[in-house]
Structure formats: structure tokens, C-alpha cells
């Protein structure tokens, strides 16, 4: 900015424009953070009180019209069960597809078609995965029940799959090909190269991507709305309707009762906390692997 002697100085008008425009950029960034701050403020303000009220984490919601509406125990456990099963389905398949893309398909036409459709899948709205499972598994009463926890898991796993694939592919590509070539040169078959060299090298990155996918699946409401529906009581039976945090919040929002609405804030804080925990672990893993 300072003029080298001999050059004319930048005119005051241009300097003013520069300052104003860069000020606006900063202001826009602050503006973008306002909703985040407000949401966190309101969640803490209205939710923390619920957390500390007796039995919030140890009782199930009840449908009573008066008195204590109950806590969110069944919702937390239901979310963990359904997301857990979804992870068990989507993470191995996702890493498998990513392995195909990096180790076998590479730049072949078929691999690029898969890549394209995986990208398209990331853009499919989450309600579509719910609708899909609703059409294929819920209406047909597959497994003897209409709405069921495991169907929610499948809907979530479809949603998590492209996230796992894309992040895993990026990480697998980072494994130096000199490592693969060294192993192949020593006579190791392809599957051993993958198992002994590629996967161990990429593990921290794979963990990060998987955790981010879990965090994403955990907060989704629409896929569960169409597949799991809602029941208040605690159930470990994945072949029945279950309670989950997002659906419970969605249901509580529309309630005319203040106590129930407050429970929604408490549950919202819980859900955000769960999602953040997974995000933070993912970041921590990513950071450690970068240093290594």
C-alpha cells in the first residue's frame, strides 16, 4: 500500500473503497455468526434449566396432559441405537466403495460414473431417503411391522453413505503410492496390500470421515419421520417404533404446553451437544494424524 518513492500514491478514493469493502467483508462474517451465537445462547438459556431439573435424563416422556411431561431417556437411547446400526451398515460399505474407487476403479469410466452418482447422492434431500424407505419397507410392512427402528437406520445409512465414501476416498488417495508399490514389489497380493498397508496408513482419516458422517446422521429428522415414527416408551426392539431425539423435538415443538416446549429446548441442547462431541472427536483425530 505504501507508495515506493517515485510512484504516485494510491488515491484517497481508492483507499477509502478498499477500507469500506474490506470492512463490509468483515461485517458480513460477523453477521453470519450472529445466528450461531443466538442459537447457542437460547439453547443454553432455555435448555440448561431442563438438564438440571430432576429426571430429565432418567425418565421417559409420557403423554400426560398435566403434571410432569417426563424426560428424554428413551429418545437418547433410541437415537444412539438407530445411529449405531446406521453406522455399522454405512461405514464398512462406504469404505469398501472408496477402496474400489482408489485401488481398482481409479480413473476407469465405471469408477467415474460411481463418483458422479455418489456426488449426486450427497445432494439428494434427506426427506428423499425417508420417502424411499417408506415406499420400499414401511408400506410393505417388511419384517412384520410398518414403522421400525431398523428401517430408520437404513434410511440414515443411505444418507451417510456418500459422506463416508467421499471422505474415505480423499484419505485413501493420500496414501503414498510408493507404499503400495513397495508392498506389491515384495510380492504381496492386492488384498494384503490393502489390509496391511493402505488401511492402516489411512485409519485416522477414515475415522474422522466416519465420525463426521455419524454426526450428520444423528441430527437428521426427516428420514426418521417416515421410517421410525414416534413412541414414547423405552424400547430396545429395533423392529418396532422407537423414540429418537429429533422426532421427539419435532413433536414437542407443536405442543401447546410450556413444559413440553421446554423439554424440546433441553432435548435440542442434548442433540447439539451430541453432534458437537462427534465433530470435536473427529477434528481431534484429524489433527493428531496430521502431526504424525
Amino acid at each position: 500500500m505504501s507508495a515506493v518513492s517515485g510512484l504516485p500514491a494510491v488515491s484517497a478514493r481508492r483507499r477509502r473503497t478498499d477500507r469500506v469493502m474490506r470492512g463490509l467483508l468483515g461485517a458480513a462474517t460477523c453477521l453470519a455468526l450472529v445466528p450461531l451465537i443466538l442459537i447457542i445462547y437460547y439453547l443454553l438459556h432455555k435448555g440448561l434449566g431442563e438438564w438440571t431439573s430432576g429426571g430429565f435424563f432418567t425418565t421417559d416422556p409420557n403423554g400426560n396432559f398435566f403434571g410432569n411431561p417426563g424426560g428424554i431417556r428413551s429418545a437418547i437411547l433410541g437415537t444412539l441405537e438407530i445411529v449405531g446400526l446406521a453406522s455399522v451398515i454405512s461405514i464398512p460399505i462406504g469404505i469398501g466403495v472408496a477402496l474400489y474407487l482408489t485401488e481398482y476403479g481409479r480413473d476407469s469410466r465405471f469408477a467415474n460414473v460411481i463418483r458422479y452418482f455418489v456426488d449426486v447422492m450427497t445432494g439428494v434431500p434427506s426427506i428423499m431417503f425417508g420417502l424411499f424407505i417408506y415406499i420400499v419397507l414401511v408400506i410393505s410392512h417388511t419384517g412384520g411391522s410398518g414403522f421400525a427402528g431398523w428401517k430408520g437406520s437404513i434410511a440414515l445409512s443411505l444418507l451417510m453413505l456418500p459422506i463416508v465414501i467421499r471422505s474415505a476416498e480423499v484419505v485413501l488417495l493420500l496414501v503414498p503410492s510408493s507404499l503400495r508399490e513397495a508392498a506389491l514389489a515384495l510380492g504381496a497380493p492386492r488384498w494384503q496390500v490393502i489390509r496391511r498397508v493402505v488401511l492402516p496408513t489411512a485409519t485416522p482419516g477414515l475415522v474422522t470421515g466416519s465420525l463426521l458422517a455419524i454426526a450428520r446422521g444423528m441430527g437428521e429428522t426427516a428420514p426418521l419421520l417416515f421410517t421410525v415414527s414416534l413412541v414414547f416408551g423405552l424400547t430396545g426392539n429395533l423392529n418396532a417404533q422407537m423414540n429418537t431425539l429429533p422426532i421427539q423435538i419435532f413433536n414437542d415443538i407443536t405442543s401447546p404446553r410450556n413444559a413440553v416446549v421446554n423439554r424440546a429446548w433441553g432435548a435440542g441442547l442434548t442433540l447439539v451437544a451430541l453432534v458437537l462431541i462427534f465433530n470435536l472427536i473427529a477434528r481431534a483425530v484429524a489433527r493428531r494424524s496430521r502431526m504424525a
Binding site: 458480513a28 453470519a32 452418482f117 447422492m121 441430527g219 419421520l225 435440542g268
Partner: protein, 340 residues
């Protein structure tokens, strides 16, 4: 094939593996390939089933589902123009508000932010993506909508001469509130992709601009933005895809009235919202249920088109470097976190 003298029984060279030992390799190879094929089969199967389930409604309503404006399940009339218009209006509002802010945020973080603030600020923007949509809905219903209603009323009466914006009477849940929440929700993904694209602008281009005497802002305007425009457009389209299909926050905030409002503070409906809101009731009325699937089909095609266009722009924008983007959160911490 192999160089010969050293063969073992079975006509293969000494360095070739026996068929038995080659088997696991074949199994793994074809196993992984079939997993990848599974993705295509699932997408194709879904499309076929969705069309199949919409069949009744397609033959009943035909194209007037898209152009007719009368959604009346009680009388078996399913003309969903109001739903489509609502989806488009809320997404447009989200783009108008969200994209400029998101791009400004990205430019600020990459080009104008003090170095040590860069990481924290980008993490904070990414955090917006970690808030579940139902929590956005919760906050929208109990904080945003009631707090903004007076401002909307003031705006509508002060600027009553502007068509679409002013003149009407704002209601609590309306297009604008739904669009505003969507703007906040698409902000992190648009910002993350823009950030990634802006970080790929060659240092030489920027230095050349500065060397010619450009101020920082002139460098951003003349070197950074033109170079990254296709990628930014792609990111914005991807955000639009999100906005079109967002369900929970919209169903809570759009008012759920199957009419086309005549100003942005009127209540409306969207494709995703109508499906989420009515599918339980409709379950026992085949035509109604089928019409909701038809709405799903229209939404699916709409988001697919938007996504395909977005992908085109992004791949054009990032040329050699394949973007990791798409999930918003995979980009761990700004430009440094990419693919090295």
C-alpha cells in the same frame, strides 16, 4: 507370457501365484465392485419405485399437478402449483440473503482475515452446519418468527408501494421466515465450497494484481473473484439444492397453507413440507398418498437438475484439483485442511 524355463506344474511361471492363492484377490475385487454397483442399483430402484407409486396421481392430475393451483385433498383435487411456487420462493429468498453473506465470509477468511483468526472463524462458520435442522426449526418457531414479526409489519407498511415485499399483512409463519432460516442453513456449505475455490486462486495472479498497484479490494475484485466464479456459482447451486429439499425447518415455519401468497410475508407451503405434513393422514387414501409421492418425484427431479448443474460448475471451477467439498464438514479446517 512369463519367461519360461522356470515353470512349475500347471503351466505357470514360478513367480505367478497359484489359482488358489489368487482367489482372495478376485473375491475382494469383485466384492468391492459389486458394492459400488449397489449404489447405482439403489438410486435406479428408488427412481423406478417412486414413479411407480406416483402412477395413480400422474394419471389423475397429469401436468396440472405442476400448473394448477388447487390443493384440496378432501375433494380429491391435487394441483400443486402452490407447493412448487412455495419451494421456489423460499429457496430464492435463501439464495438472495445467504449467498452474498456466505461468499463475503469466504473471501474474508481467505484473503482479508488476520492469519491467527482464520482457523477459529472458519470453524465457527462450519459449526452452523452442525446444528440439526430440527433445532433451527425450534429456534425459528420460538425466537426468530415472533421476534421478527413487528419488524416485518413495519417493513410491509412502510414499503407498501413495493409489489411482493410490502402492502400485505405479515403473518407469524411465512415465506420470508422460512427463507431466512434456509439462508442460515445453506450458509456453511456455500461458504465452505467458496473458501475451497478461492484458496485455489494462484498466488501469482494475486501478486500480479498487487504489483500493478491494486489495493487489496481491487485484487479481490479483479483477480480472486473472476477466477473463482464458476466454483462459487456451483457452491451456490449446491446450497440451492439443500434449500429446495429442506423439510423440517420449513414445515415448521412456512405456515402450511396450500395457497400462493401475494407477498413474501404470506403463508404458503412447499413440496417437502406437504409430504412431511400429510403423509400420515394420506396413508389410507391411495390417491392422496400417490399425489404426495408425485410431489416427491417433482422435488427429486428438481433437486437432481440443480445438483447436476452445480456439479458442472464446480468441476469447471476446480479443473485439475478434485474438490473434497459436498459435505461442508469434510473440509476440516479451511484451506490448510484440504488434500495437501
Amino acid at each position: 507370457m512369463a519367461a519360461s524355463a522356470t515353470t512349475v506344474p500347471g503351466d505357470r511361471s514360478l513367480v505367478e501365484r497359484s489359482p488358489g492363492r489368487r482367489l482372495p484377490d478376485q473375491v475382494l475385487r469383485w466384492g468391492l465392485t459389486s458394492l459400488a454397483t449397489l449404489i447405482l442399483i439403489i438410486i435406479g430402484y428408488f427412481f423406478v419405485r417412486l414413479i411407480g407409486q406416483s402412477g395413480t396421481a400422474i394419471s389423475h392430475s397429469g401436468l396440472s399437478f405442476v400448473f394448477g393451483n388447487d390443493w384440496d385433498p378432501a375433494h380429491n383435487v391435487f394441483h400443486g402449483a402452490a407447493l412448487i411456487v412455495g419451494t421456489l420462493i423460499t429457496s430464492a429468498i435463501a439464495m438472495i440473503i445467504g449467498v452474498p453473506v456466505a461468499v463475503a465470509t469466504a473471501v474474508f477468511i481467505v484473503e482479508s482475515c488476520p492469519r491467527r483468526l482464520r482457523g477459529p472463524v472458519s470453524i465457527l462458520v462450519d459449526l452452523l452446519a452442525a446444528v440439526p435442522s430440527v433445532v433451527y426449526g425450534l429456534w425459528g418457531v420460538f425466537v426468530l418468527a415472533p421476534k421478527l414479526l413487528p419488524a416485518e409489519k413495519w417493513f410491509a407498511s412502510t414499503f407498501s408501494f413495493i409489489p411482493w415485499l410490502g402492502g400485505g399483512t405479515p403473518v407469524l409463519y411465512n415465506y420470508f421466515i422460512a427463507g431466512l432460516i434456509l439462508a442460515i442453513m445453506i450458509l456453511p456449505i456455500v461458504s465452505a465450497i467458496s473458501r475451497e475455490v478461492i484458496a485455489t486462486v494462484p498466488q501469482e495472479n494475486k501478486e500480479a494484481a498487487l504489483a500493478l498497484g491494486a489495493t487489496r479490494w481491487e485484487m479481490i475484485r479483479m483477480a480472486v473473484l473472476p477466477y473463482s466464479r464458476p466454483g462459487i456459482v456451483g457452491g451456490a447451486m449446491l446450497g440451492m439444492g439443500r434449500a429446495l429439499g429442506e423439510t423440517i425447518a420449513v414445515v415448521l415455519l412456512i405456515g402450511n397453507a396450500p395457497t400462493i401468497g401475494n407477498h413474501i410475508f404470506a403463508q404458503g407451503y412447499s413440496l417437502a413440507a406437504v409430504i412431511a405434513n400429510e403423509f400420515n393422514e394420506a396413508a389410507n387414501t391411495p390417491l392422496w398418498a400417490s399425489s404426495l409421492f408425485y410431489a416427491g418425484l417433482v422435488l427429486f427431479i428438481l433437486t437432481l437438475l440443480v445438483n447436476i448443474v452445480a456439479r458442472y460448475f464446480i468441476s469447471r471451477g476446480s479443473r485439475g484439483t478434485r474438490g473434497t467439498g459436498a459435505t461442508g464438514m469434510t473440509i476440516a479446517s479451511g484451506p490448510a485442511g484440504g488434500q495437501g
